[in-house]
């Protein structure tokens, strides 16, 4: 296999290209990029590309499989479409329109941890910047419970002063390249996240009396961090989805967004959430343009409705709310009881592919699949096929399925 350059942001961030080639022993080898990208591409490359469509476990023609899938979905009272986290925007849009046609629900795998961020933005707003802006302007960066510098050293300018609230215990921060953590680096004290952020906001806004979190945190480090943020030419605040997990996630996300907003009163600052990887941002964008909300959408009445408590994977798969599944490029299936009738679109190694009532193999974006991804900052990245395996694109399969379902409904 000749060395092939692959440019897919499986991590959702600006990332060096991956290279796909053959190791001396003949195994497929992936180099470059980041760990998430290498893992994702290696898994795709190891896929059984000869798997064809199946109905009830038996080989079938594409036409037979599409017809069976459409019949299965059209029969359902509460069909649920799930996955799409590495599907191109066009496939996600088709999936959302299929959910609309079916009067079903849809959710994006990997989007649930972003709930707090989505809700906080809708309440408070978000002053953000693309990665290029952060890289070219930031002179101070607050890394909130994340540290992407080891895997993505080019995210921040080398001279930026870093304020680090270290990732929580149990998360690998990775080694930071020498020299990047220069003399000006500050570490925020270990304490309750919300308390630290509220204290930091208070200090930034000139209320030093309030800037002392309960517990052990020394106020000096906070004051120093606040001073650095307040006097920055352009401050950047970065966090990832794990940083806003848990019961106070909404409050933490709100505090981070309000901190960025406050810093724009006298200077410039931008928040840059790092997203959930893959093309979660692109799939959510497709749902936004079809149904007005980025995740957990139901198309049951006159207008689409977003309700994670009713239309998320937790409700529809774990909670058993769906009576049919359409899984598109799913990587991890939530815990569930006896599965309902199921259609799988994607790889033969997908969860539930073996037991699916209908299996439709689809091209894998980054390998033989094409389309558009959005990075975490919303910027588009074209995804081009690097090999040909004769598999249909997810978007085309979903469009064909929708046409048949629309025909069934008529």
């Amino acid at each position: 296999m000749p060395a092939t350059r692959v440019r897919v942001p499986f991590c959702g961030l600006p990332c060096p290209d991956l290279t796909l080639d053959e190791a001396p022993g003949g195994a497929v080898r992936v180099t470059g990029g980041c760990a998430a990208g290498r893992g994702a591409l290696a898994a795709l490359a190891a896929d059984d590309s000869s798997a064809g469509p199946r109905v009830a476990g038996r080989a079938a023609s594409l036409e037979e499989a599409l017809a069976a899938a459409a019949a299965l979905l059209a029969r359902a009272r509460s069909p649920f479409i799930y996955g799409l986290s590495r599907s191109p925007v066009g496939a996600a849009r088709e999936a959302a329109r299929l959910a609309q046609t079916l009067g079903g629900a849809i959710d994006v795998e990997g989007s649930a941890p972003l709930d707090a961020e989505i809700e906080a933005m809708a309440i408070h707003g978000l002053c953000a910047a693309t990665f290029g802006e952060v890289r070219s302007r930031a002179d101070v960066a607050l890394l909130w419970r994340c540290d992407p510098r080891a895997e993505h050293p080019a995210l921040l300018p080398p001279a930026a002063k870093v304020i680090l609230a270290p990732p929580r215990a149990g998360r690998a921060a990775g080694p930071v390249p020498a020299g990047d953590d220069g003399a000006g680096a500050l570490s925020l004290p270990e304490s309750d996240d919300l308390e630290i952020l509220l204290a930091l906001r208070a200090a930034v806004n000139g209320h030093p009396g309030l800037a002392r979190p309960a517990g052990t945190a020394p106020a000096g480090a906070l004051q120093e961090a606040a001073q650095a943020l307040r006097t920055a030419r352009y401050a950047a605040i970065l966090w990832d989805h794990e940083a806003i997990a848990g019961p106070v996630g909404l409050a933490v996300a709100s505090a981070l967004m309000l901190l960025a907003r406050d810093l724009n009163t006298g200077g410039r600052a931008a928040a840059r959430p790092l997203g959930a990887g893959g093309n979660v941002a692109g799939a959510m964008s497709a749902l936004l343009s079809v149904g007005g909300s980025p995740r957990a959408l139901g198309f049951h009445g006159d207008a689409p409705r977003s309700a994670p408590e009713s239309f998320s994977a937790a409700a529809m798969i774990e909670g058993g709310g769906a009576d049919a599944w359409l899984l598109v490029g799913v990587r991890d299936l939530p815990a569930h009881g006896t599965p309902p009738p199921c259609v799988v679109v994607g790889s033969p190694s997908s969860p539930a592919a073996d037991s699916a009532d209908v299996f439709l193999p689809a091209a894998a974006p980054g390998l033989d699949g094409e389309g558009l991804f959005l990075r975490a900052d919303g910027l588009p990245v074209p995804v081009r096929p690097v090999v040909s395996r004769g598999r249909m694109q997810e978007e085309a399969l979903l469009a064909a399925l929708r046409a048949r379902c629309a025909g069934s409904a008529a």
């Binding site: 910047a129 080019a154 352009y234 558009l372």
Partner: protein
Amino acid sequence: MSAPAPAGTIRIRGGAIWDPAHGRRGEIGDLCIRDGRVVASLPKTSPVFDARGLLVLPGGVDLHSHVAGPSLRVARLLCPEAAGGPCLPSTEQTGRRYAAMGYTTVFEAAVAPVGARAAHHELDALPIVDKGLYVLAGNNAIALDLARRGRQEELRACMAWLVESARAYAVKLVNPGGVEAWKEGRDAGDQAPLLASLVRAIESLALPHPAHVHLPGLGAPGNASLTLALLDALGTARVHLTHLQFHSYGGRTPAGLRSRAPEIAAWLNAHERVTADVGQVVFGPAVTLSADAPAQHRLHRLTGRKWANLDVEGETGCGVVPHEYRSDRLVGAVQWAAGLELMLLVDDPWRIALTTDHPNGGPFTAYPTIIRMLMERGFRDALLRRAPEGLARRTVLSGLTREYSLEEIVIVTRAGPARALGLTNKGHLGPGADGDVALHRDAGDPESTFATPVAVFKDGILVAREGEIVARPAGRTFHAAPRRDGTAAAARFAAGLPEAFAASHSVPLEDFALEPGALARPESVAAGAA
């Protein structure tokens, strides 16, 4: 993958044809469309649509709207409460609502170059209507650097590169230099030289639509002085001034806001190479979204409403703030009146287009109501009687007697915008025109007449009947094709581009330009063709 747009053949029989471009003012006749284009005649056996008793108009053309792209994504995330409503309809509903109202062409007015790929992807999903986008260039770090160093020829090459890379129809200049200055925390200073330099570069490309200019000072009290000063600095340049209402204010504070639309209209009347669109305010909820990020930050600080911002790759900004124009508040009433004053005081309807800058001034679905305001002084006066006290001292609207004729309405909603865009197949019903036709029943009042056409044809295909969508063909995407520039300056620009691009962008240069096959149904319009 490119695919031809579907096209139909139909004889629209016996309607009153309104086609200002050809001096037709309601003459009864047949309109023939063959394979999607207007023709002089058809065989007698061709399909017929009975249009007796109906007004036959070209399809509407909205030359400034916000219907796709990264800024809309931000707006949808910030304002879920507006999702699906008139200000933030879904992509599908956007196309359907335009078509159901008789509009068949719409332009997305502000797209960052680096976001063009995503914007086109969304435009491709916008059903029925033809479309295009304007690429933002007024705060592009590469362009600003060339302008500041006086590299005018290289700046020209830069503008051509942006248009071609983004598959754009025109270049939009938003508060030139002002957004970049705000990002850097400094004052923009005198923006006139930069504006003039950018406009010259764009004009030299002879694109079908001239520089689409969003002036500095958006929405600020007293901005009319700046508007007039900048316009004078432009000299005789050919430009299009967008949402001019938002740049036509006197007063020193929001509480003291008053209209200076008469002075702006007088300037426009005296400069025949300049066109404009109004950006009319509609009372009710709106979602303001603009590449003019500092103006949006000001609005957020002023109103206390939530605010989203996105600084984009050394190219532009993007700010979103939900808003409400209240008829019982003087500020909103002044803005509303200023827009109508512009429409009524600009003598030549060919040079002022009806827009709401959707969804900034309000939703595009308000066009029929605005049309009634323009056509019926009595309707205006009734609204003015309910206006806040003091409006009469700050505006001249109550003294304006002009009422638009039907022909003038057809011009400001169809023929004029098409001509300003340089779209020779749009906005008229002469042979060769696209078969985009709206059939309206005269319902007694203009609002009812224009709200729901009896029938709408797109490329000769019946797409809407009494407000219901009956067919959903995919529209085309217009993009301009600048002439290839073989000058030494263009070569210098190309040689320096990789380094300049890498300094401000985190995407690879080789992914930046859209490939020729990237648009679903492209239609190229050559430079100098208008």
